[in-house]
């Protein structure tokens, strides 16, 4: 058993290694501003990946999250702009807009989950479909261009992304809280236990009086809510949304989950691992941008190698048992 723990710690060791490498290659890496930036940008994918961990652990998948984020950003901006004449350029409008993002996320997650659990269509197919639908809707809403937030609101909203406690900005704090709560929920609650049981063998779960459909549906709704939360943090960063917002986020989130040691076939979820996975992907990106060892254009290739490597390590663990 002691030996197997190495596989649990593997991603963490890799993360520490990357951190040291970054520090050696460029002193600017350790600057609080840089670290703050890396962590804040990790937060979007991170929040989504935490939700994705639950979905994958129960044996599902959600390909629609990137498009969903873009769509939610779009309707949030439109809602806020529409509210300005009514409520005014103030926090009230922003909070109502946040509500739109969150509720929209819950609704979108519910649609995915209901199609999967009630209509019994495969998760891959359903979310491939909604991925296209959300992407197309946001492009349509933006009329092929960009949806921009009212400039007055933008300056009020900005601190949500850029402010915080010193260099620890709000996205970092929200990400950290979500990670702690997510890990607790996976490890120490009935919900997490049921999620793992369903992913491990859904027939056993059903025979054991677990409400398989409801738990599955809940993971999609949870993921939708987290996408909504990520959107709330994302909108103030650029103040706009377009058809190219959130492209490939779904794959980054899935990659982070896999790197973190959650089994793609389900049954074993590691929220901490997912957080480490997200940070690994962000650090690679950051280090490539800060140094000229390797072209940043090769970022995707390096991430790809790491994903495959992580899965190979997982497989070795299984044969070692």
């Amino acid at each position: 058993m002691k030996r197997i723990d190495l596989h649990v710690w593997g991603p963490l060791i890799a993360l520490i290694g990357l951190f040291i490498l970054g520090a050696i290659l460029n002193p600017a890496f350790l600057a609080p501003a840089n670290l703050s930036n890396v962590l804040a940008r990790s937060a979007f994918i991170g929040l989504i990946a935490i939700g994705m961990t639950f979905v994958i652990t129960q044996g599902g998948l959600d390909l629609s999250v990137g498009s969903m984020a873009a769509f939610l950003a779009g309707i949030t901006i439109m809602a806020m702009n529409a509210l300005v004449p009514v409520v005014g350029e103030n926090w009230g409008t922003i909070i109502l807009g946040m509500g739109v993002a969150l509720l929209g996320g819950v609704a979108a997650g519910y649609v995915n989950g209901a199609l999967i659990t009630k209509a019994r269509i495969e998760a891959f197919i359903v979310t491939l479909g909604t991925m296209g639908i959300f992407r197309s809707l946001v492009t349509w809403l933006a009329d092929g261009g960009t949806l921009s937030l009212d400039s007055g609101l933008r300056s009020i909203y900005r601190p949500v992304y850029f402010g915080g406690l010193g260099w620890i900005t709000w996205p970092i704090i929200v990400f950290a809280v979500a990670a702690v709560v997510g890990e607790w929920a996976m490890r120490h609650t009935r919900f997490g236990r049921h999620v793992e049981a369903i992913g491990s063998n859904d027939r056993v779960a059903r025979y054991s009086a677990v409400d398989v459909e409801r738990v599955r549906l809940t993971t999609y709704v949870l993921l939708g809510a987290l996408v909504g939360l990520a959107t709330i943090l994302y909108v103030p960063r650029l103040g706009s949304a377009s058809g190219s917002t959130g492209v490939l986020w779904e794959l980054e989130a899935i990659a982070a989950v896999i790197i973190g040691g959650t089994a793609l076939k389900g049954g074993r979820g590691r929220v901490w691992g997912t957080v480490v996975g997200v940070l690994i992907l962000s650090l690679i990106d950051n280090i490539l941008n800060l140094t000229d060892l390797v072209s940043p254009y090769l970022n995707g290739a390096i991430q790809g190698v790491i994903i495959v490597l992580a899965v190979v390590l997982q497989r070795e663990k299984r044969t070692a048992e």
């Binding site: 009935r190 236990r193 027939r203 056993v204």
Partner: protein, 503 residues
């Protein structure tokens, strides 16, 4: 040694030991397989039978000692390499690709080709011939996933036959077969023996060992404790040798003082399988349900607990209930122990406490009380005598008997009033069977109502206060008290006798 001397030894184990980590599970085992002879390896779960089978077949390497094929150390290092040299293993877990046809499975890896493509016709014809020889009606072009479990077992056997085995190693070959199929299997064993094949099998069925084995080796805790030739050992003697103590009172004494009706079915119909079943189950009673495989026993149970859509009336404590899911069944204090403990009963890759508490967890609130979970595990291990190296081991690594005890403990943790147990002792050794029988009787004594579904007649007879016999989805009849015997049950199950419906 009598008969064995004039036969040639094909495959032999020479002072084999095997350790998994620090634990030695085989302590210097010698074994000889003679051509033209059937060898039975018997012992309790965990005695080391499966390990020996795997070592013989090349699936495991011994820690020390040698495997000798025709007197020389074997050169094969894996199952497929062993097969190429004529040493074929039929595993207990099926080794078939569910989406391929029967013929494709039988010729998997050795396909017959014609030019660039496959010669489907030749493979189908060869498969059909094999299957006819086995006296089955399986079609070569059927998909494995559409076959029943016994049919899949027959395909496994056909596959082994097609490999022209010199040594055939069978791990519980008849565990999943019906009576007729077992006969076909025995006929094949006889035929292979006559052809000079060396056969070895392990089994929990003593009648099967008596019927087939020319030579018996009894294993206990990784050591050979007794060897015998055909006729030298009675079935009782085998059981005693396996367990290492006299087995008296395999079945606990019956206790016919049953009380009020807890569960009643009226015209209960489970979609397309079970028709118009009416029955009453009383407090403190063990009700046996017998019948052939496919007679609708499991479907009836699954209908009762809401795993299958059912119509008709279901009353608990004389109140009409509508149970549509195992959750609702649990809330009505109705529990079902599945016959398929590996696929529907336990999470094999999870540890013991996770399995134990899975069904009961809903009553524990949102947060999982780890301390309580540990305490429940301790008491379950004690109460049900679950033997495990550690609580943290995977349930899949437990022996079959301990898995069954864990499943029983898991079910009882929800404190049900009505317990339906499907095949309580499938694939379990005789010592553990005895324990389980006593657990079942204790449940009845505690005032619970118990239904036992079983294909093993001695079990139904020894355990039940009353037996319902099912045939083709209906209750064919009921026997009670002294009338519970093999003949009455078989007659009802086969439809040889039409009993008066109780008015």
């Amino acid at each position: 040694m009598g008969k064995g001397d004039d036969m040639t030894v094909v495959l032999a184990l020479d002072k084999i030991t095997k350790s998994f980590g620090p634990v030695e599970v085989l302590h210097g085992v010698d074994l000889e397989l003679h051509s033209g002879e059937v060898h039975a390896l018997i012992g309790e779960n965990g005695a080391g039978k499966s390990t020996i089978m795997k070592i013989l077949g090349g699936y495991l390497a011994p820690t020390t000692g040698q495997v000798l094929l025709d007197g020389a150390p074997v050169t094969y290092r894996s199952g497929p390499e062993g097969e190429a040299q004529g040493v074929v293993v039929i595993h207990q877990e099926f080794n078939l690709a569910p989406d391929l046809t029967v013929a494709a499975n039988i010729f998997l890896g050795r396909e017959i080709s014609k030019g660039l493509g496959l010669d489907h016709a030749a493979m189908r014809a060869a498969t059909a011939e094999l299957l006819t020889r086995l006296d089955t009606s399986i079609r070569p072009e059927a998909l494995i996933r559409d076959l029943s479990v016994p049919d899949r077992q027959m395909v496994e056997i056909a596959k082994a036959l097609s490999r022209k085995a010199r040594v055939l190693i069978m791990d519980e070959p008849s565990a999943a077969l019906t009576h007729r199929e077992v006969e076909a299997l025995y006929a094949q064993v006889d035929r292979l023996r006559a052809e000079g094949v060396a056969l070895i099998f392990c089994s929990h069925r003593m009648d099967e060992v008596s019927r087939l084995a020319d030579r018996i080796t009894v294993l206990r805790d990784g050591t050979v404790v007794q060897r015998a030739l055909r006729g030298e050992m009675t079935e009782d003697g085998m059981a005693t040798a396996m367990v290492g103590r006299e087995l008296t009172d395999i079945f606990p004494p019956k206790d016919t003082s049953s009380g009020e009706t807890l569960l009643e079915l009226r015209n209960f119909t489970v979609q397309s399988v079970v028709k118009d079943v009416s029955l009453k189950l009383h407090k403190g009673e063990v009700l046996g349900i017998a019948g052939l495989v496919g007679s609708g026993r499991t479907e009836l149970a699954e209908g009762i607990v809401g795993l299958r859509p059912a119509t008709g009336e279901l009353r608990i404590h004389d109140r009409q209930m509508n149970i549509r899911s195992p959750r609702e069944a649990r809330d009505a204090r109705l529990a079902y122990l599945t016959e398929d403990r590996k696929e529907a009963g336990l999470l094999l890759d999870k540890n013991l406490p996770v399995n134990l508490t899975l069904t009961a967890l809903d009553e524990w609130g949102l947060r999982i009380d780890t301390k309580r979970e540990k305490a429940e595990m301790v008491s379950a291990r004690k109460e049900f005598d679950i033997r495990a190296a550690s609580d943290d081991m995977r349930a899949g690594a437990l022996s079959g008997g301990n898995q069954q005890k864990l499943l029983l403990a898991k079910t009882m943790l929800t404190d049900p009033e009505i317990v339906i147990i499907d095949e309580p002792t499938r694939g379990i050794d005789i010592g553990t069977k005895q324990q389980i029988y006593h657990f079942v009787r204790d449940l009845a004594r505690q005032g619970k109502a118990v239904i036992v579904i079983s294909s093993e007649l001695p079990e139904v007879i020894g355990l039940s206060d009353r037996v319902l016999v099912m045939r083709m989805g209906r209750i064919a009849g009921e026997v009670e008290g002294a009338a519970i015997n093999e003949e009455n049950i078989v007659r009802l199950a086969m439809g040889l006798e039409r009993e008066e419906e109780p008015a």
